[in-house]
């Protein structure tokens, strides 16, 4: 589904991302892990053609994303709150996104009705603008908006941050269902190792812009990841001494 080849991005000569080859098959739930500045958001931005790669290409369903816009109809994303339009209510925002993705009001209503639990009664029908919602509720609205229009690829940057525990658990279930039952390719990044190992079949660890680990999730993955990040914490403290 998504094929990354020789991609790199540098700012003023400083390389922030360099991936030689990465293939994400259709229907995989894919997790991206790494410390701050590892290049997670940069990779997602390249995937959405929001920044221009220095070298290389990303192909999404055999469309080169920086060349053609034909990947947009089947790809959706929620990167951060700047994806929301602050002066709309959540419903209006959903309808707007629906309009852009060829869904009428009834389609959108049907979809959002499925997420009543997830919204916990705080999103729909509240007569509030998105800009006045709390960070967590904004995130919920953004994530659900990314599910409108049956996308085949969903990209979520740090979806678990700012959410309450109940919602985190619900979100995990939603993401799992998407990949397993509907064959959607789900790309998620997170700092929370437990959540990603719960959700994703495959986890890639980025460090200083490069892929350092590529794991199939199994019962020992969490331990392995924890060991990996603990090691870098130890090595840093040794350097400081």
């Amino acid at each position: 589904m998504i094929y990354t080849k020789d991609i790199s991005k540098s700012y003023n000569g400083v390389q922030v991302l360099k991936i030689d080859e990465l293939e994400i098959p259709k229907g995989q739930s894919f997790g991206l892990v790494g410390n701050n500045g590892a290049g997670k958001t940069t990779y997602f931005s390249l995937l959405l053609d929001l920044i221009n790669p220095s070298t290389g290409t990303i192909t999404n369903n055999s469309v080169v994303v920086s060349k053609s816009e034909d990947w947009k109809p089947f790809t959706s994303a929620f990167i951060d709150e700047t994806f929301l339009i602050g002066y709309l209510t959540p419903e209006e925002y959903f309808y707007f996104i629906g309009d852009l993705r060829g869904q009428n009001k009834a389609d959108v209503d049907r979809l959002t009705a499925k997420f009543e639990d997830f919204f916990n009664g705080e999103i729909i029908g509240k007569k509030k603008y998105l800009r006045d919602l709390s960070k967590g509720n904004q995130k919920k609205a953004g994530i659900v908006a990314a599910l409108i229009g049956n996308p085949e690829v969903i990209i979520l940057d740090e979806p678990f941050a700012n959410l309450d525990p109940t919602t985190q658990i619900r979100l995990k279930q939603i993401l799992k269902d998407l990949a397993e039952k509907q064959g959607v390719t789900v790309l998620v990044s997170s700092h929370d190792l437990m959540h990603v190992t719960d959700v994703c079949e495959r986890i890639v660890v980025l460090e200083k812009g490069e892929v350092v680990k590529d794991l199939e999730t199994n019962p020992t993955t969490l331990k392995e990841l924890e060991a990996h990040f603990a090691k870098s914490a130890v090595s840093v403290s040794e350097e400081e001494e």
Partner: protein, 492 residues
């Protein structure tokens, strides 16, 4: 503590990307300020000799003091629209060991150094010097200048109180109208003659310094009121937390007739109606509409035919210019999202084009009463409207592709330079001066009919070429996509 605050202010100002990128604009503003100061100095000197010339039998000092009340009212009105209570990002300070009273006193104290408080001195001091040269008592004059300063501060702090109350109302002008209108009304109908009270008061002070205590007391009372108002607001749940407003949803289903661009039109209309900056821009349209009334009632302008085109372009294109110059920066807050959505850029732009075109038509229709000043004016306005639709809409959207500045939709519009760059100033030339020059030149060389015909022709040509023009403009936007996304992501 004050020292820390000052250094924070300094850094905030000079480290903002806004300042660093806008040196040209800042220089321009400085020149404007210098220009105002110069005018005021000349005005101050001219005031004395002018009054002497016109009313040789009266004392200029008495006349000026008498009309001080009107000065005060005008000052208050101007301040309301232009001066804002200085802001300081207090949130990070609240949990630090800083007394709330220190913060409040600092913010209020800072407001005392506003340009609005300094400017009157440039009028008062030259006037006072003229007085003292012409043999007035120096102590009296010094007292007079001091009184002017106190009065200036009174309107400074009175304005903040008015603003504090108006911020919470749906009709924000109400408190101002009540205060200013009330004062003026009481005076005008002779119920309480403030003109006399203020005039006599000022003269009394110069004769007997003890009376200066009266305005000083008023000032202290106002300051204390401000202090109390501000201190209440220094809690996270008060004003620092932005107020949650109920949604005003209106039925926009009529936009459906525009087909595939309907979602964008609805979005644009909501954008205009639900954000402070765009909303105040929409209210400014009234000024644009009435702009002609500054000129047409005077016979001199009615003979200057080239002015018709200028006023026509300006008044029918007021929304076009104000809205158009910030395309696509209006959507800068969520531009990333738009760019990752399945949208046709051309639809996005066409929605804005239709909105601007509709505004030109509406403004023209509303401006039809100008026919009262002569049918030629109406014809010239119609030609200007066609030119606006055919040429200016495209020019301004083309200029928009050079926009690289984010806009914060929650700030007021008047004197808000956020998002303004060199492009916005340069684009004014083809928008206003070119049609005015064409019209004026042809009118002068050949005749009114030809001048009108050429404007209409240019506009008509633009309308005919709308499709290919839009294609070119769309390409221009697509070419600068990455640069725009990167620029809109930065806070100014």
């Amino acid at each position: 503590m004050i020292k820390h605050f000052l250094s924070l202010e300094w850094k905030q100002y000079f480290r903002s990307s806004y300042w660093q990128k806008n040196i040209a604009l800042n220089i321009l503003l400085v020149f404007f300020a210098l220009y105002l100061m110069a005018i005021f100095i000349v005005g101050g000197i001219g005031l004395y000799y002018g009054l002497k010339e016109v009313y040789p039998n009266q004392d200029p000092f008495i006349i000026v003091s008498k009309y001080m009340f009107y000065w005060f009212l005008v000052d208050l009105l101007l301040r309301f629209f232009m001066q804002k209570l200085p802001v300081m990002s207090v949130k990070p300070l609240l949990t630090l060991p800083v007394k709330r009273s220190t913060i409040v006193n600092f913010v209020l104290g800072k407001s005392a150094f506003s340009f609005f408080n300094i400017l009157p001195l440039f009028l008062a001091v030259p006037f006072a010097i003229c007085l003292s040269i012409n043999g007035y008592d120096t102590t009296a004059i010094l007292l007079w200048v001091f009184t002017v300063i106190v009065i200036t501060f009174i309107s400074n702090f009175l304005n903040f109180i008015i603003e504090a109350y108006s911020a919470e109302l749906t009709v924000p002008l109400l408190p101002l109208l009540i205060t200013a209108g009330g004062l003026y009304g009481l005076d005008y109908f002779g119920i309480i003659s403030f003109t006399e009270i203020v005039g006599n008061g000022v003269i009394a002070i110069t004769q007997n310094p003890i009376f200066i205590l009266v305005p000083i007391t008023i000032l202290i009372v106002l300051y204390t009121l401000n202090y109390k108002l501000l201190k209440q607001k220094l809690y996270l749940d008060a004003s620092l937390q932005s107020k949650v407003k109920e949604v005003n949803a209106s039925d926009l289903s009529w936009t459906k007739r525009f087909g595939d661009i309907a979602p964008f039109m609805q979005l644009d209309l909501k954008l205009i109606w639900r954000n402070k900056r765009t909303k105040s821009m929409a209210f400014l349209m009234v000024i644009g509409l009435l702009y002609g009334l500054f000129f047409y009632p005077q016979p001199i302008y009615r003979d200057m035919t080239f002015m018709f085109a200028f006023i026509g372009i300006f008044s029918t294109g007021f929304f076009l210019i104000n809205f158009g110059q910030f395309i696509p920066a209006w959507d800068s807050g969520y531009y990333k999202m738009l760019m990752s959505q399945n949208i046709k850029y051309e639809q996005y732009l066409r929605s804005k084009w239709i909105l601007m075109t509709m505004s030109v038509v509406v403004m023209f229709v509303l401006g039809i009463p100008y026919v009262y000043f002569g049918y030629k004016i109406l014809i010239a306005h119609a030609a200007a409207a066609v030119y606006n639709i055919g040429v200016n809409t495209h020019v301004i959207m083309w200029g928009g592709s050079f926009n690289r500045k984010k806009i914060d939709l929650d700030k007021k519009a008047a004197f808000n330079y956020q998002g303004t760059g060199a492009v916005q100033w340069l684009i004014g030339i083809p928008l206003m001066l070119v049609p005015m020059a064409i019209f004026g030149l042809l009118d002068w060389l050949i005749g009114f009919e030809v001048a009108v015909a050429v404007l209409v022709l240019a506009g008509g040509l633009g309308i005919l070429l709308h499709k290919p023009l839009m294609k070119g403009i769309t390409q221009k936007y697509l070419d600068s996509k990455y640069k725009m996304i990167a620029a809109f992501g930065k806070d100014s």
